[in-house]
């Protein structure tokens, strides 16, 4: 293959192009901007790149690429701050990191978790770049080998991680995943456009719920509310334990895990159409399955941080393959990236099949700019981690109002609707109760994330398979059971069997004691009511749109069966059984000085006030009231902190050219920014 003869010189040229002071300068600039945007949950690469777009027109291609790549590359690194320190999944890339990273922060090991995460990110990024350098010239036929059945199998493999994360009562995990999938089907169906649990009278629902909102609602809201009720610092006793050096040593001790997860990341990232949402769960599942003592997972196991963090930066590199070779963006930020490349210089870099032939040097430059950006970003993050980790020693009551502010803003950015914030609150409520009654939240989220891919790929693969079967049985079988599918099938079965055996020792919510029968039973019945409603709703879709109803019906049916078995078990078993786990009966939540509803009312109050007054005015009132009444801060402190919070919001929104949620007041009056 003469490509190899071309590859080495092109690689040399790429390095020559990168190693110019101006290019490196732009790279660092991009990295710094990416870090600034990335530490805020829910913003990430898309917001940052859209900000850069106007400058790309006619810019020197290399400088422009350096700036953009620098920005995109560090988002999966910097979002780790929010997931580890606050339990807020900053982006879909860091959802699995929350599971063990946040418990570590609670133990006062935030700096250790951060530095292990960053080192893993760095290593993952480098492994990804190296793998790509060799792989990219031969990638095309291999990528084309992944058809719809193969992608369906990868989605199912991701779904099988539910088995590992199901918690102590496997059926509850299964039901949680089913519920997540059903909630993922809300809205207009991709295939036939039928509405599921939605109506055109509420246009918001027809688009379905956004991952950012569900991620924040399921993980961040329950944790913020719980910590706020306990009125303490995130790190128990407000002390910081092990420092960043320990984290680096932790990574070194687990370097092989890190390497394997990096490879998982880059390989899954290469497949177009799946994106990054499954990668970190597969990596987390792998980390669990290859750890002998599983008792610490969910309570602050360092391997649970290293696994997903190694994979998510490697995935960014892998994602370049579909983006550059096929012109098919693997993520939202990659889509903007493609658009921006055409604006660069005289516009002669054309993303697509000709990229390798005509612009191999540019391709390699992008791969290695990505790797370099990882290095720069990681060093900056590690340098900052010790200081930022101190946030976990602050009394949480001072942090909470700002976190409510940030997650509301982040949720609003996903769709620019007031309903986004309402949805965050609703999903947050579900999250709070899933947590309270020990229903696996990761299982719920995996179900939600994979709902769309599973539905889409199974429908499409089924259609094409039936077409092949019509021409001949052999052709149909060859299509469905390709070697890749068979291998993935075996991995899935093994991982489910192992996972179920191991799930009992992994307590993502800690050891939750059982309480009375009534509350858990009521919650079960509420879920069951929703599932039944969703089933009836799906069944009403006419049969010619079978593609739109089959998945909700099957998933709903399985979920309902699991719930019915649970119901029988709940009736039969004594109230000390783990099935009745309830955080309000004993433990931190039960002993908390503040109740759930008064605490949640603060968040509800912010949302209600926003509806009337618009976000900025509501936020001003909320911050002052919260700090004075709940935190009992002095007037001076209250005003300084309120001003600080407002300034942060305005600077961020102003710089990124984002709007705030308007209220009724803004409908009748005309006010200047940021009040409008």
């Amino acid at each position: 293959m003469d490509l190899f003869a071309d590859a080495l010189p092109a690689l040399g040229q790429a390095w020559e192009m990168i190693l110019q002071p101006a290019v490196l300068g732009y790279l660092v600039l991009g990295v710094v901007m990416g870090l600034a945007v990335g530490v805020f949950p829910g913003l990430g690469g898309i917001a940052g790149l859209s900000l850069l777009l106007p400058f790309m027109f006619g810019m020197d291609p290399l400088m422009g690429l350096a700036l953009m790549v620098g920005m995109v590359a560090v988002v999966p690194t910097s979002d780790t701050f929010a997931s580890v320190l606050m339990g807020i999944p900053g982006s879909s890339a860091s959802q699995a990191t929350v599971l063990d990273g946040f418990p570590m922060a609670k133990k006062g090991q935030a700096a250790r978790a951060l530095s292990a995460a960053f080192t893993s990110s760095l290593f993952g990024g480098l492994v990804g770049a190296m793998f790509l350098t060799m792989f990219i010239v031969v990638a095309r036929p291999l990528v084309l080998a992944f058809g719809l059945p193969e992608m369906l199998m990868i989605s199912i493999l991701g779904l099988s991680m539910v088995a590992v994360l199901a918690g102590r009562v496997a059926l509850k995990g299964l039901a949680a995943a089913g519920l997540g999938m059903l909630i993922g089907t809300i809205g207009e169906a991709d295939a036939g456009g039928s509405l599921r649990m939605a109506t055109y009278d509420i246009p918001y629902l027809t688009d379905g719920l956004k991952l950012v909102i569900v991620g924040l609602g399921i993980f961040a809201v329950p944790e913020i509310v719980s910590l706020l009720r306990q009125d303490r610092a995130i790190a128990k006793e407000a002390k910081l334990g092990a420092g960043w050096g320990v984290g680096v040593r932790d990574w070194f001790a687990n370097k092989w895990l890190s390497l394997r997860c990096s490879l998982i990341g880059v390989v899954v990232g290469v497949i177009p159409g799946l994106g990054g949402s499954v990668v970190d769960w597969i990596a987390y599942g792998h980390a669990v399955q290859t750890t002998k003592d599983k008792s610490n997972f969910g309570k602050g196991e360092i391997r649970g941080v290293i696994g997903p963090e190694s994979s998510n930066n490697a995935k960014e590199g892998g994602g370049l393959v579909p983006t550059l070779l096929f012109g098919i963006p693997g993520s939202g930020s990659m889509a903007i990236f493609i658009g921006a490349i055409a604006l660069l210089g005289s516009g002669d870099i054309e993303v697509g099949p000709s990229m390798l032939r005509d612009n191999l040097d540019i391709t390699y430059s992008i791969v290695w700019l990505l790797a370099l950006a990882n290095v720069v970003g990681t060093l900056l993050c590690i340098a900052a981690s010790g200081g930022i980790a101190k946030l976990t020693t602050i009394r949480f009551t001072y942090l909470a109002p700002f976190l409510f502010m940030l997650i509301s803003f982040a949720a609003f950015q996903s769709g620019q609707n007031f309903e986004d914030i309402l949805a965050l609150f609703t999903i947050g409520l579900i999250g709070i109760f899933l947590r309270r009654f020990d229903w696996s939240r990761p299982a719920f989220l995996i179900g939600f994330v994979l709902s769309n891919p599973v539905e889409k790929f199974s429908n499409q693969a089924f259609q094409i398979a039936s077409f092949r079967f019509r021409s001949s049985f052999q052709e149909g079988m060859d299509y469905i059971f390709s070697p890749i599918v068979i291998v993935l099938l075996i991995i899935t079965v093994v991982s489910v069997v192992l996972g179920l055996r191991q799930a009992k020792s992994i307590m993502a919510e800690g050891d939750v004691k059982a309480g009375s029968k009534r509350a858990p039973l009521v919650f079960l019945l509420i879920i069951m009511a929703y599932v039944v409603a969703a089933l009836i709703n799906a069944n009403m879709i006419p049969d010619y749109n079978l593609t739109d109803k089959i998945v909700p019906l099957v998933i709903g049916g399985i979920t309902l069966a699991a719930l019915l078995i649970l119901l029988v078990q709940m009736i039969l078993r004594p109230e000390t059984d783990t099935i009745f786990a309830d955080k309000e009966s004993s433990g931190e939540d039960a002993d908390a000085p503040y109740g759930l509803w008064p605490t949640l009312a603060w968040f509800g109050g912010l949302i209600a006030a926003t509806w009337v007054l618009g976000f900025i005015l509501a936020l001003t009132g909320f911050l002052i009231a919260f700090l004075r009444v709940r935190a009992q801060a002095s007037w001076t402190k209250t005003l300084i902190m309120t001003a600080g919070g407002l300034a942060l919001m305005c600077v961020m929104a102003g710089a990124l050219n984002r709007d705030f949620p308007p209220g009724l007041l803004q409908d009748v009056t005309d006010m200047p920014w940021p009040l409008n």
Partner: protein, 358 residues
């Protein structure tokens, strides 16, 4: 005498100053160009391409920023724009075929009315359909030999732009089974490359970017373009692909396909809305004429830049950019279909795919 002189000079000065005073100065302002799609789609690319050029040509060089308001297949943003009134000329709204089609088909979510808005610029694209090599051999300029083959096509949905190719193939008597639910034409091309789909179409720029490569390698055979419109509104060969026959030519050569009658009229109406007049930039209802003229002049200056053809080719394709009255005419032809054409398409959607829009 002196008084008269004075009066004349005052009048002359007023006449001279008149247009100067009326001229719109936008320095220091920020113009928001709202598109009802996410940051990642083709409309984002289109608006981002024009935004900096527009800024250079508008008097006072205001900042032009692109804002995204995605939702409900762009009907959310369009409904929002319908509520907006002219304020100070700092709002532009961009629509695409995906905004026009629900409007033309009477989608219940549509609460906007194109004729209320003030079009200042419209631009279009073309499309090319192509076949897999095996079936491509049977293509002889007519679809006569393709009529008993079952094709698979990766489709975004029958009520989207895909309506145009699906209806065209149907009129040619071809049996094309759409696999619905893909997210973009790029995914459709990938499906074709993997051999899962056996027929595909791409808009001009994507065809040039990727599919033309497949043709070169012998992995695809071009079948037809949708064509382009000449000044009289007739379909002629697409200037970007002068060697590929249009659907009209293929239809004429194919037994049973008519280039007149209700099917043809319906196809043509939706083709015009979806391709030659695909993207339109609007000012809100109630915009005064001088502001409209300022924007028209700015877009006119943009398309007359020396390098416009080169830079536009990569971004929006080598197609005409309409401004002023031409944009208005283009908008009218792109946003009106006869009741018969609409009824025909609605009926076909229901019978062929079970799709109803209520």
């Amino acid at each position: 005498m002196t008084m008269k002189k004075l009066a004349i000079s005052v009048a002359a000065a007023a006449l001279l100053a008149g247009p100067a005073l009326a001229e719109v100065d936008m320095s220091g302002k920020t113009i928001e160009w709202v598109i009802p799609f996410s940051e990642t789609g083709g409309s984002a690319k289109w608006a981002n391409f024009f935004a900096p050029l527009l800024s250079e040509e508008l008097p006072g060089n205001p900042t032009v920023v692109v804002k995204f308001m995605p939702g409900a297949g762009s009907t959310k943003g369009a409904n929002w724009f319908q509520e907006q009134e002219y304020d100070d000329g700092t709002l532009i709204f961009g629509t695409s075929g995906s905004t026009q089609f629900p409007y033309l088909l009477g989608d219940p979510r549509v609460r906007y009315e194109y004729s209320d808005w003030v079009p200042v610029m419209a631009s279009g694209t073309g499309g090319v359909a192509y076949l897999n090599p095996t079936d491509g051999e049977k293509f002889d300029g007519s679809a006569n030999n393709l009529q008993d083959i079952d094709f698979i096509y990766g489709s975004q949905g029958a009520t989207r732009l895909d309506l145009v190719p699906l209806l065209a193939w149907e009129m040619l008597g071809m049996n094309v089974e759409p696999v619905f639910g893909i997210k973009g034409r790029g995914d459709g091309r990938l499906m074709f490359e993997r051999g899962e789909a056996t027929i595909d179409y791409q808009t001009s720029s994507s065809y040039l970017g990727a599919s033309a490569d497949l043709v070169e390698q012998g992995a695809a055979v071009p079948m037809m373009t949708w064509g382009a419109l000449d000044e009289n509104g007739d379909i002629v060969r697409d200037p970007t692909f002068p060697d590929i026959p249009t659907f009209k030519e293929v239809c004429e050569a194919t037994d049973g396909c008519e280039t007149s009658g209700e099917a043809w009229d319906a196809w043509k109406a939706f083709f015009v809305a979806g391709f030659p007049v695909q993207k339109i930039a609007f000012l809100p209802a109630g915009t005064p004429d001088d502001v409209r003229d300022t924007f028209t002049a700015a877009f006119d200056a943009v398309r007359n830049r020396d390098d416009f053809a080169t830079i536009a080719a990569k971004q929006v394709g080598e197609y005409e950019v309409f401004v002023g009255d031409n944009a208005k005419r283009a908008t009218e032809s792109g946003t009106t279909v006869s009741p018969e054409a609409k009824a025909y398409v609605l009926d076909w959607l229901k019978n062929a795919y079970g799709v109803t829009l209520n």
